[in-house]
């Protein structure tokens, strides 16, 4: 990375670039988050927020059985999604990175980017039509004399929703990671007589470790905070943390309690992010 010329004092040039994003993000990203923490100590009386400093909201939420249930449920779903999406994405990313021709790869990337530009909300609505009791899948099953299978309002449907959200992104990130793998290593492995399937585990995955872990982490982050899929596909059964947030706000303007849940979520996400980053960059142990 390049350096500027040795700068004189009171040089305004770097400041002209550093300050705008710094000030903007500090004002409209950090300040609201700080507010969120502060607000978790406020009170609500007759649907009205009052500034205060009480710990009652924290006590109430942390003593509520439904909060723990929702936390465990959300964490589990996000973890399952991260694993499933990583496993599902890998063969596709592998094929695109090493086996497919440039034309196929380009076309595939276009298709992978397309979903980002259709409203996620509307895609979830479409999935309702697909997964419903008399929906597309069950109609197809009916033709061969099977079903119907109840899919809507189950955790399965929620994860399917998460997958539509995360699968394209995870394939892209994995593809990016795999394209950094040195092909000579794979040739070497092949020359040494390692069968291709084994080479995937011995060469490809270890050398693309960082990217693969980060891809899975994205799968976790996005699904952990998603509101739409658990609501419209999972039928809020049981509610996730995001639904809990919306419910607290809707059912009594209880912003302070919603903030407690939100702060807990942010802390969890940061912890997961740090853990996964350190895992990704950890030196491999002695062999």
């Amino acid at each position: 990375m390049a350096h500027g010329r040795p700068t004189k004092r009171r040089d305004m040039f770097p400041a002209a670039f550093i300050l705008p994003p710094l000030v903007w993000q500090a004002s409209f990203f950090i300040t609201p988050l700080v507010f969120l923490v502060w607000m978790s100590f406020w009170r609500v009386k007759n649907f009205r927020l009052t500034r205060d400093f009480v710990t009652a909201n924290w006590e109430r939420i942390y003593n509520a059985g439904f909060f723990y249930d929702a936390y465990v449920h959300t964490f589990t779903l996000a973890t399952v999604n991260a694993l499933v999406v990583s496993v599902l994405a890998f063969p596709a990313a592998y094929f695109l990175a090493f086996r497919a021709g440039p034309k196929v790869r380009q076309l595939a990337i276009v298709f992978l980017v397309t979903p980002f530009f259709t409203s996620y909300l509307v895609r979830i609505y479409s999935l309702q039509i697909i997964l419903a009791e008399h929906g597309i899948i069950n109609s197809a099953l009916g033709l061969v004399g099977l079903g119907p299978i109840t899919m809507l309002s189950t955790s399965f449907a929620t994860v399917v929703g998460f997958l539509t959200l995360t699968l394209p992104l995870v394939i892209l990130v994995q593809l990016l990671a795999l394209s950094q793998v040195d092909k000579r290593l794979m040739e070497a492995a092949s020359n040494l007589g390692v069968p291709p399937f084994e080479a995937v585990f011995k060469v490809v995955i270890p050398s693309a470790k960082v990217g693969l872990i980060m891809a899975g982490t994205f799968g976790f982050l996005l699904s952990f905070g998603d509101y739409v899929s658990p609501l419209f596909l999972g039928g809020s059964k049981p509610p996730t943390l995001s639904i809990l947030i919306a419910d607290q706000v809707k059912s009594g303007n209880n912003w302070p309690r919603a903030s407690v849940v939100a702060v807990t979520m942010v802390v969890t996400l940061v912890a997961v992010l740090l853990l996964m980053t350190s895992l990704a960059y950890a030196k491999r142990g002695k062999k």
């Binding site: 649907f47 929906g135 040195d182």
Partner: protein
């Protein structure tokens, strides 16, 4: 080494012609989006309502006559409405459509104004609605009734028979395991269960009865198919994911039945609950005359008739001229909505005494009931 740039496809060929075509398409869309209906409607009337009340099919003639746009912010559930009212700066909304039991909270918060009964067609109302509790507080009028309906048990007729749904007890039946849906609002759902528990006044119960109610509610958890907002309530009954849903009624099933979905709603023998929707003028509004004119329109025969047939969800109307107009202009709809004068109609059920007026909890906080509901959802 292959270098993959995920954004590389952008730099791949797309010709000037496609570029122009794309821009033209976007321009055309922007033009249609901003174009035609902008012509009139300099002014807007902002209303806070349950979904669907600003549908052109309902408010069209009013918009036409006054040259205004009726803009709605939609909510589901009274607490959601109060939350929105509290969050918004004064003057955001001109009219609020509320359920009767929340009018008192709107008044206590200083959000709505007293209304002059002389401004509204009280003579046209059926006697039951002239002095409806909740709309009149300390003998002053705060809200003008627009529509009402009953809540009991809605069910799919291909899953349950009319005899089976004569009691709420059917919800615990093996037949509907995993098929009992819930409208995601504690008040009507828990109200019906309170009736099932035999509480004379379903919302005015002591703590022992409330604990019993919680127990009854929680015992339904294994039967549950999910928790639905308004649209999901429609689609879960349509798709068959839900075979019955307590705490809803005609307002959901009438429309579905019209579309050929095998559903019906009933008031079980333990009783049902009445809901009402009424309109108030917001204290912070700067367009109070327009707001008044709007409520006058909604209580006129035409406004009432259109409101009864509102595309989002149908309801019964309390205005006699409204019934007359409906019977004259849309006789089929009048029959479907059971608002004919000759046959058994919606007012008869009211007279039978099975219907209890919905209220907010009396002996417990709203929060206590809400927390029980949240807990139930996570079981």
């Amino acid at each position: 080494m292959t270098k993959v740039d995920p954004f590389a496809f952008w730099s791949r060929g797309i010709g000037r012609r496609q570029f122009l075509a794309g821009s033209t398409a976007l321009g055309a869309m922007a033009a249609t989006g901003l174009g035609p209906r902008r012509a009139h409607a300099e002014e807007t009337l902002n209303i806070l309502t349950w979904p669907g009340h600003a549908d052109p099919a309902v408010v069209g003639p009013f918009e036409e006559k006054y040259g205004v746009d009726v803009v709605a912010k939609e909510y589901v559930g009274g607490e959601n409405m109060l939350a929105l009212v509290n969050q918004s700066p004064p003057g955001t909304y001109d009219v609020v459509l509320s359920d009767a039991e929340y009018v008192v909270m709107l008044r206590d918060g200083g959000f709505i104004e007293e209304m002059d009964p002389a401004d509204y067609p009280f003579d046209s109302l059926f006697p039951e609605f002239k002095k409806f509790p909740g709309h009149w507080l300390d003998d002053k009028l705060y809200s003008m009734i627009i529509r009402f309906g009953y809540l009991g048990l809605a069910y799919r007729t291909d899953a349950l028979t009319k005899e089976e749904v004569e009691s709420y007890a059917i919800m615990w039946d093996e037949k509907v395991k995993g098929g009992v849906g819930f409208f995601d609002w504690y008040l009507p759902s828990m109200g019906c269960l309170s009736l099932y528990n035999g509480n004379e006044k379903p919302f005015d119960i002591d703590d022992a009865a409330f604990d019993k109610l919680k127990e009854t509610l929680f015992s339904l958890a294994p039967q549950s198919s999910g928790f639905y907002s308004m649209a999901d309530t429609f689609s879960s009954l349509t798709s068959g994911a839900a075979k019955c849903i307590p705490g809803i009624g005609d307002w959901i099933t009438l429309l579905l039945a019209k579309d050929g979905v095998p559903v019906d709603a009933t008031v079980p023998k333990e009783g049902g609950i009445q809901w009402t929707e009424s309109m108030s003028i917001m204290a912070g509004s700067t367009k109070k005359d327009l707001a008044k004119a709007f409520i006058q329109y909604m209580t006129s025969a035409e406004g009432q008739m259109r409101s009864a047939m509102m595309p989002a969800y149908n309801a019964s109307i309390p205005s006699k001229p409204g019934w007359e107009m409906l019977n004259a202009e849309h006789p089929d709809e009048a029959v479907r909505l059971r608002m004919t004068f000759d046959d058994r109609n919606v007012l008869d059920e009211y007279a039978e005494g099975k219907i209890h007026i919905r209220r907010t909890p009396v002996q417990q906080d709203i929060e206590t009931w809400n927390d029980a509901w949240t807990e139930f959802k996570s079981l």
